[in-house]
Structures are given as C-alpha cells and as structure tokens.
Amino acid sequence: MSLTLFLVQTLNGLQFGILLFLIAAGLTLVFGVMDFINLAHGVQYMVGAYLAAWFTALTGDFFLGLLLALPTALLFGLLLEWLVFRHLYGRDHLDQVLATFGVILFLNEAVKVAWGSSPLSVPIPDAFSGSVRMMDGLLYPVWRLVVIGSGFAIAIGLALLVSRTRLGMLVRAGAVNAPMVSALGVDIGRLFMIVFGFGAMLAGFAGAMVAPILSVEPGMGDNILILAFVVIVIGGIGSIRGAFAAALLVGLVDTLGRSFGPQMLRLMLDPSAASQTGRALAPMLIYILMAAVLIVRPAGLFPAQR
C-alpha cells in the first residue's frame, strides 16, 4: 500500500465525511429538537443537487446556480414542513416513518417527471477544474478540496452558531428538553421551522456541492440518508459535535476500508480469500462500527446531556 494512495483515499474519506456531516447536521437537530424521524431528509439532498444542476444549466454558471439553488432548497424545505411535517411532530415514530417514506416515494418520482430518469451531469466550474499537485506524485482534484474546505467552514460556523448564539442555545436546550423550552415561553413552532429550514438548506447545499462529481439522479438521496442516520446514531442524537466526529469517522472508515480492507486481510488470509472477504466486509464495516458503538454506548458517542 503506497503512501500516496493512502493520502488520496484519506482525502476522499474526508470529503465523504464532510458530505455526510452536512446532511447529518440537519438530521440530528431535527431529530434531537423535534424528536422527529425524517426519512425524507435524503430527498432534500437530492433536490439540492437537482436545483443546482437546473439553475446551472439555465444560467450557465455554477455559482449563480448555487446562489439560486440554496434559497429555493430552503423554500422547498419550508413548504414540505408546512404541508406535511409539522403535522407529524409529537406523533408516534412509526407514523413519522410511514409519512416521510411516502414523501420519498413522491419526490423520487417527481424529479423523474420533471427532469427525466437519466442522470444529469454538472460540469465542474472552470476556475476549480483540474487537479493540484499536493506532493510528489500526489495529484488531487481541486473541486474535491473545495468541497472539503467549504464543509469545514460550515462545520465551524455551525459550531459557533450553536454554542454562541441565543438561537443555538435554544436549539441545544430543545435537544435536551423540548417541552421545557416551550414552557419557558419560546415559540417552539417557529424554532422548529427555523431548525428545519436550516437543515434542509444544509442538505441541499451538500447535494449542490457534489453535483459536479457525482451523477445527479432519482433516488440518489436514499442510500446517503441511511448513512446519515448511521452517523447521527453513532454521534449521539441531537449533538452537532457528535455528528461531526461520527461523520468523519464513517467517511474515513468506509473509504479506507473499501480500498485497503482486502490488503489488510491479506496479512492473515491467502490472497484470493482475502480479496473476497475484504470485498464482502468493506461495505459492512460502518454498520459493524455502528452496532459496536451502540452496544458499548447505547446512546451514541456524544449523547446530548439529559
């Protein structure tokens, strides 16, 4: 296993982790503050990617597209909240699962109707296309670095927002004890809406940022949603810090596991058995990780203080 390959995969893992964090951040807050299981959070990511692709095609400029996509994703999230989700707060988790499952079915189909079922591709903005030489023999695509950088910036901003502002304080308090916050006279409905819209926009942003490097297609949010759930469960529901740590962990474990798992196993098994077992085990790794974390710490790594 060469060092450069390892570094490249580590960067890929980071990029994947950052992507997961952007999606998981909203999910964990919505979950923590509103006790609401939103399976439809993954389609917010998809919608973000589609909007970015669409606006980019319309305007011919990715950043203009992004600028238009973000508020649209926000409005879209708020619309969904108003139409469906707000009627589900305080309901049984089962009801929430079923209803948001219905929303997924609808939206996955709706994007097909609107944009066709074949994947859309978004060109990487000119200024950031190509690769940089990070060290001898290590070329890395610039856009992926941009994704990593912007993700970290948002993570820091979010951490400040949650730890330093009044809104953040309410969110933290809400994650621990929502009825109490409500009893103190805070308009919990509005707080929910803000948190929700914010989460939707972050997921949309994630979708938009990876639109140039992934294919934009119906159902693209489904699997990443499950990974985001893995992240927030490992991190501890309601905890931004936990989501961040867990997202990077999951991103790195998944990426490195897939590329180096078989080689590691070769130390113990004969080559063909190693590559077979390795390929079988790699995608399961993060689920094994999650099960292990939950067995040792049933409320995740950084449980919100209750």
């Binding site: 979950f31 299981i37 399976l39 469906v84 009627h87 589900l88 309901r91 988790h93 089962l94 009801d95 699962v97 079923l98 209803a99 499952f101 219905g102 929303v103 997924i104 079915l105 609808f106 939206l107 996955n108 189909e109 709706a110 097909k112 109707v113 489904d222 499950i226 759930f229 893995v230 469960v233 529901i237 077979q276 390929r279 079988a280 995608p283 399961m284 689920y287 094994i288 999650m290 099960a291 939950l294 067995i295 049933p298 409320a299 995740g300």
Partner: protein, 331 residues
C-alpha cells in the same frame, strides 16, 4: 353508576372490535380460497400470481406486527429475514437441494440464528436507537448478499426449479403454490393469534405497556422480547422462502432498506397490533400499487401522498378506520 357504565361500554366496544376482526379475517380467507376459481373468468395466471405475492407479504407483515404491535419493537430491518429465507431456497436449489422441507429448515434455522444474535444486541438499545440498529444489521446482510459473487452478487440468482415437497412438484403449478401459501398464511395467523393470547404473549403485551411494572412483578422483559423477535424473524423467513418460489429469483434487493420500509408501511397501513390489519394492509398495499401502476408509469406520485394521508387522516390504518365507521354506525 357511571363508572360501571363506562366499564361495560369499554369492554363491549373492545369485544365488538375483536368480533369484527374475526369476521373480516374469515371472510378474507374464504375469498382467497375461492380466488383461483373466480380468476378463471379473467387472466387467471396473472391474478393467481399477484394474489400469491400479496399473501406472501401478508405473512411478512403479520410477522412484523407480532413484534411491532405486541412488543413495541420497531424493526426497520425486517426485510433481512425475507432475504435469508429467499437465499436459503436459492442457494440450496442451486446446489440441487430442491426439497422444500430441507430448504425451509435451513431458512428457519438461519433466520433464528440471525434474529437471536442481532436481537440480543439490538434489544440492549431503546426507541430510535433500536430502529436504527435493526436497520444496520439488515444493511450488513444486504451488503453481504451483494458480495456473494458465487450466487450472483448484486444481480442475484435464478432458481433452476421451484421447490418440491417430499419429491412431489407441488409448487410447480401456480395453483399449487397459491394454496400452499394460503395454508402458510392461515397457519401463521392462527399461530400469532394463539401466541398473543398465551402466557408468553401476555407478558409481551404487558412489557409493551409498562416494562417497569412487568419487572416489578418478576418478569425480565428482555428474554420475552428476544424470543418474540426470533419467532417473528423465522416467520418472515418463511415468507422469503415462498417469495423465492413465487418469483423464481433471489437478489439482495429483497433485503434493501426500502423493502423494510415497505413492510412497515404495510403493517401500519393495515393497523398495528391487530394481526388482521397487517394481513389486509399488505394485500391492499400491493393491490393498490398494482392498480396505480396500471394507471400511470408515475404511480408513486399518487401512492406516496396516499401514505401521507393515511398517517394524517386515518389513524390506526384500515382497521382503525373500520372500527370508527363501525362505531359510528352502532353509536
């Protein structure tokens, strides 16, 4: 006395609901038994095939209701057991073992072991964490299926032939498979009904309502929940074994999380904790899916909002709705 009055009214209403359910399920079974005869008037093969499929998922939804409705265990990974059952049939058949008894024994054993191990771990967590850990375990199995390159990996594998029963090609005719499935469905229903009313079921139901109380009279809910989880998993594996025969095909897609979501949806759609509801719910779910798919390619755009509406406006699913309509008529 007013208290005694409400007392009698409550018991009477409960009894009436149970009576209504009983009638509904008997009617359903009779209609199912007659369906192949009635289907002669139409595209028989298609109808028998569809109804067989509906009954298979009814078994799976029923098994889910046992833990969901009576044990409050929200499993978001139930499709894993369907996959285990289906793969047991598919893998054995590909090695020339076509006897259903052997295949089923393998399916049930695999499901029991998987349920026991994952259940023992999952039941240490509560609430949302339980939902997510069951999901995680089923995803593991899903990816394991994908990695089984000897058995088709991602693409799955086709059954060389349908299972035989003691050497007889009983399932090879669609009607044979139909009645075998119906028999399994009725058997599972009766089994679940007995379990729910038994000593075991009573403890399980008690633990759903108030686990602390159950501990305070000397039960450890954990053991009961685990056994229920195993029973439920085995029943879903039976559904999987039948499904492999019905489709003649096995693939990891049977275990995807969307499948688990659909099973939950079927169960809730019918009415959680009623046994009858999930049976009817699963069949209505698939029938509706089939009907809408016939109307438009984009049927999911109708189906999705319909699920949302069921949650928002029809609490308790079909059985809840039926009970309310029945209550209104009598009240």
């Amino acid at each position: 006395m007013s208290a005694a009055g409400t007392d009698i009214a409550v018991t009477a209403k409960a009894r009436q609901a149970v009576g209504g359910r009983e009638r509904a399920i008997i009617a359903t079974f009779v209609l199912l038994a007659l369906a192949p005869i009635a289907a002669q008037a139409g595209p028989q093969g298609y109808i028998i095939d569809l109804i067989t499929r509906m009954m298979i998922f009814a078994i799976a939804a029923l098994s889910l209701d046992l833990i969901l409705g009576y044990g409050a265990m929200v499993s978001f990974g139930h499709a894993a057991f369907i996959g285990l059952g289906a793969y047991a049939v598919g893998i054995l058949a590909s090695h020339g073992v076509t006897d259903f008894v052997v295949q089923l024994a393998a399916a049930l054993a695999a499901a029991a072991v998987f349920a026991f191990v994952t259940g023992a771990l999952s039941l240490r967590t509560k609430g949302v964490y339980f939902i997510m850990i069951t999901l995680a375990f089923s995803q593991m199995l899903f990816f394991f299926g994908v990695s089984l390159s000897a058995y088709g990996g991602d693409d799955g594998l086709s059954l060389p032939e349908r299972s035989r029963l003691f050497g007889l090609p009983l399932f090879s005719s669609d009607k044979g498979l139909f009645y075998a499935t119906l028999a399994c469905l009725i058997g599972c229903y009766l089994l679940c009904r007995a379990i729910v009313a038994s000593r075991f079921g009573r403890v399980l139901r008690g633990a759903r309502e108030n686990p602390v109380r159950m501990t305070a009279i000397g039960f450890s809910p954990y053991r009961f929940q685990l056994v229920a989880y195993v029973i439920s998993g085995m029943m879903a594996a039976l559904a999987g074994a039948l499904l492999a025969n019905q489709t003649g095909f096995v693939s990891p897609a049977y275990m995807s999380w969307q499948r688990s979501g659909e099973l939950l949806a079927m169960t809730i759609f019918g009415g959680v904790g009623t046994l009858v509801g999930p049976i009817i719910g699963a069949m209505a779910f698939l029938a509706l899916e089939e009907w809408l798919a016939g109307l438009t390619e984009h049927w999911k755009m109708i189906f999705g909002p319909l699920l949302v509406c069921v949650v928002l406006f029809a609490r308790g699913g079909i059985m809840g709705l039926a009970a309310r309509i029945g209550g209104k008529r009598d009240g």
